[in-house]
């Protein structure tokens, strides 16, 4: 049994989904967090699955993520719909509800944000809604994860029954259009009502043509055109869509009149928001404020002063080296294990995984702080502030969400570009996002920067992040001037109210990041470390050869000359970069294994910094390349996404080395 979860963007669908299924998908206080559908079973309701669909204002799609909704309604099999409604924005939310109710599928309307509505001095009379719309309706606060509310949802889902499709009185011309299209479709078989399809076609839902194989597309388009002419001639509205919209809006006013009850006179908190917003998005103070906030976050995560993350990592490193590795080694010696197995476990696996895993506390601190920021609604203000700036580089206003996601992991960031309707802007964003430093690159920075610098680590790592952003912007501008010429598309953003971030959500989100990080350590890095250690300790002369005669030294030695101008032309540094194609963390684990922990001796300040710059910007990892191929559907752009970063990284790392080494003698 499948239930589909549909609703406008940023109404708390994912929060509701997490509560009902006890899973932890990412949530945030801005639109476009969910871009693909996700499925999970509902707790306390055996055999039932919930599908979280991307948020949409309308069944008819504007971008690819919204197309998922039309597709699911038309082609998936499901038992019922759950429509999540933001109770504080009924006028807009109910447009989608009406389209869903017109389907006639069993539907449960869930009026979310009950607490916020009560704060505004209102309640929703769900009994009246049920009578008025002939549907099932309840009102909840999904973020409270109230068990009674969740039980109520399950109970109501179990007794969900089909209801008659909602029928509004559209203008005569529209009704005639519905009948005409319905006639044309008479021999086709669909799982949804033909009248609904007809109405959607009149509204201009291109997704229907795309997902259903309509033989009479031309005839249908002619009818739609004629109805549009009729609407204009009779002066019903300025467009056919407008005529349908107006009928629905009038009906929505009736619903609100009947069902929304004011219980208390409250003053709007809105005008407080205005002053804060004006300051936060101020053309002069806004950007420095944002930079200061981000810098503090990096300082707390990586710096010495205020360095919570740094201190935790220090303790973790002590535990790993002095206790885990030390006692394992003693145990091995006690049972007489030496040679190959001893080396593989102690110097290969434990060294490699340890080199990456010690940065776990810093990553948890960083993402906890970012999750807090996301929950408040500040990110939407950043999008506002950045709009003018980003549009100069050919980015869409909506690019800000993928860019922010990119600091976590590039793969979901590329998928988040599905909300960008314009294809050129979408590809431009996809191609430039890998330059944003993802969390997998952090261990590389941490490892090298902490070993070759005594102070200013927070500042240096923040600088590397800024470099990533700068290269992203520069590359976007370059693509915008050459291949993707044209004006940036429109900016239109719904501004969410400020909300207090929830401790539980924040903790779950950073826990999720931590889990993914540890999982990668247990898979990619484990296997990578084993292969690397074996290749580094075996050669044509067998086991335990001089490392410089190992297979790895022979392979990487062949191409290490490429990196000599950048200051790190050793086979160890080169092979770490090659293995980093698996996953960026593997660069750090490989360095740890091959240099046997002596990073400080392997790099100078200039070659170390050049290495960090190169590793930060060069070829994206294999998962990213696969995602780029899947999302762009283009071999050409996938190749570009591999080759272009290599050259950019080479030039920038070379410049860094040249300036520091030749210029300052470091």
């Amino acid at each position: 049994m499948i239930y589909l979860l549909a609703g406008n963007p940023n109404v708390g669908k994912s929060t509701f989904f997490n509560g009902m299924t006890q899973s932890h998908v990412h949530v945030g206080n801005y639109s476009g967090v969910t871009v693909e559908k996700r499925v999970h079973h509902i707790k306390n309701y055996p055999g039932a699955n919930l599908v979280d669909l991307p948020g949409t204002y309308n069944v008819s799609p504007n971008s690819q993520d919204e197309g998922v909704v039309t597709y699911s309604l038309l082609n998936e099999s499901y038992k019922g719909l759950i429509n999540i409604i933001d109770s504080t924005h009924l006028k807009r939310n109910l447009h989608l509800s009406i389209q869903l109710l017109e389907l006639g599928t069993p539907t449960l309307m869930v009026f979310n944000l009950k607490d916020a509505l009560i704060n505004n001095g209102y309640i929703i009379d769900t009994k009246k809604v049920e009578q008025f719309l002939n549907v099932n309706a309840i009102s909840v606060s999904a973020r409270e994860r109230n068990k009674d509310d969740q039980d109520l949802v399950v109970e109501r889902l179990k007794e969900l029954t089909p209801h008659k499709a909602l029928k509004l009185d559209y203008p005569a011309a529209v009704e005639k259009g519905i009948r005409d299209i319905h006639d044309l479709l008479r021999h086709d078989i669909f799982q949804v009502k033909k009248k609904w399809i007809a109405l959607q076609l009149l509204e201009g839902n291109e997704g229907i043509y795309q997902y259903l194989d309509l033989h009479k597309e031309e005839d249908i388009r002619r009818i739609v055109e004629n109805v549009e002419k009729e609407v204009l001639k009779e002066n019903i509205a300025l467009s056919l869509k407008g005529a349908i919209f107006n009928t629905r809006r009038a009906f929505i006013e009736e619903i609100i009149e009947e069902c929304l009850i004011q219980v208390e006179e409250k003053e709007h908190s809105k005008y407080f928001n205005q002053k804060v917003d004006r300051f936060i998005t101020h053309p002069v103070y806004g950007i420095p404020l944002f930079m200061a906030i981000m810098f503090s976050i990096y300082q707390i995560s990586f710096g010495r002063f205020l360095g919570l993350g740094n201190a935790l990592t220090g303790y973790f490193e002590l535990f790993w080296d002095n206790i885990l590795v030390n006692y394992t080694a003693q145990l091995f010696e006690a049972i007489g294990l030496s040679g190959f197995m001893y080396g593989l476990v102690i110097n290969g696996i434990l060294a490699g995984i340890g080199g990456v895993l010690v940065f776990l506390p810093q990553i948890v601190v960083l993402f906890t702080l970012i999750a807090i920021l996301e929950g408040t609604g500040y990110m939407a203000r950043v999008a506002i502030m950045m709009d003018r700036f980003l549009s100069k580089f050919g980015f869409n206003g909506k690019s800000i969400v993928p860019i922010i996601t990119g600091f976590g992991c590039t793969v979901p960031a590329i998928m988040a570009t599905r909300t960008i309707a314009d294809k050129r802007e979408r590809i431009l964003t996809i191609l430039t996002i890998p330059f944003i430093s993802c969390s997998a690159r952090l261990p590389i920075y941490g490892l090298i920067v902490s070993k070759i610098f005594d102070s200013y680590q927070g500042l240096i790592i923040f600088g590397i992040y800024l470099l990533g952003i700068f290269v992203t912007l520069f590359s976007a501008k370059l693509l915008n001037l050459t291949y993707f010429k044209g004006e940036g598309s429109k900016f239109l953003l719904e501004v969410p109210p400020y909300r207090m971030p929830q401790i539980r959500t924040v903790l779950y989100q950073s826990l999720e990041k931590a889990k993914r990080f540890v999982k990668k350590a247990g898979t990619f890095i484990l296997i990578g470390s084993m292969i690397l250690w074996i290749l580094a300790n075996n050669g044509f002369d067998g086991f335990n050869v001089n490392p410089d005669e190992s297979f790895l030294a022979l392979i990487a030695g062949g191409i290490k000359f490429i990196f000599a101008p950048l200051g790190f032309g050793t086979w160890e540094a080169t092979s770490s970069l090659i293995s980093g194609f698996l996953a960026k963390e593997v660069v750090a684990s490989s360095l740890e294994i091959l240099f046997a922990g002596d990073i400080a001796g392997a790099f100078t300040i200039s070659s170390g910094l050049a290495y960090v710059v190169f590793a930060s910007l060069y070829i994206p990892c294999i998962s990213t390349v696969a995602t780029i191929k899947a999302e762009t559907q283009s071999t050409k752009w996938t190749l570009f996404s591999v080759i272009y970063p290599f050259f950019v990284a080479y030039i920038l790392a070379g410049t860094v080395y040249l300036i520091l080494h030749v210029g300052f003698g470091l």
Binding site: Y57, N58, N62, T88, H89, L90, K91, R92, H95, G204, L238, S239, K241, G242, F245, N246, R249, K270, Q274, D277, R278, T281, H282, P283, V284, G286, I384, M385, D387, R388, K490, F491, L492, L493, E494, V495, P497
Partner: protein, 74 residues
């Protein structure tokens, strides 16, 4: 008269969206911006480049060039 000519916190009624191109008009309507709706200019942000308006119960931010195409009556 268009939105950019309004005074902060002034109320008006949207008279026409016809100067806006079709695709963008569809997106505005999806968000609940329609002819005949009450509109309040809440704020002018980012040094006069962005206009934050309230239509019904939603707050929307648009660029100056788009806001100037929305005709209103006070």
């Amino acid at each position: 008269m268009n939105i950019t000519k309004m005074i902060k916190l002034q109320k008006g009624i949207i008279e026409s969206l016809s100067r806006i191109e079709k695709e963008f008009r569809k997106r505005l309507m999806d968000l609940g911006v329609y002819e005949g709706a009450d509109v309040i200019l809440l704020n002018v942000l980012s040094g006069g480049n962005l206009y934050l308006i309230e239509v019904d119960d939603i707050e929307i931010c648009l660029r100056k060039e788009d806001a100037s195409l929305i005709e209103v009556t006070i």
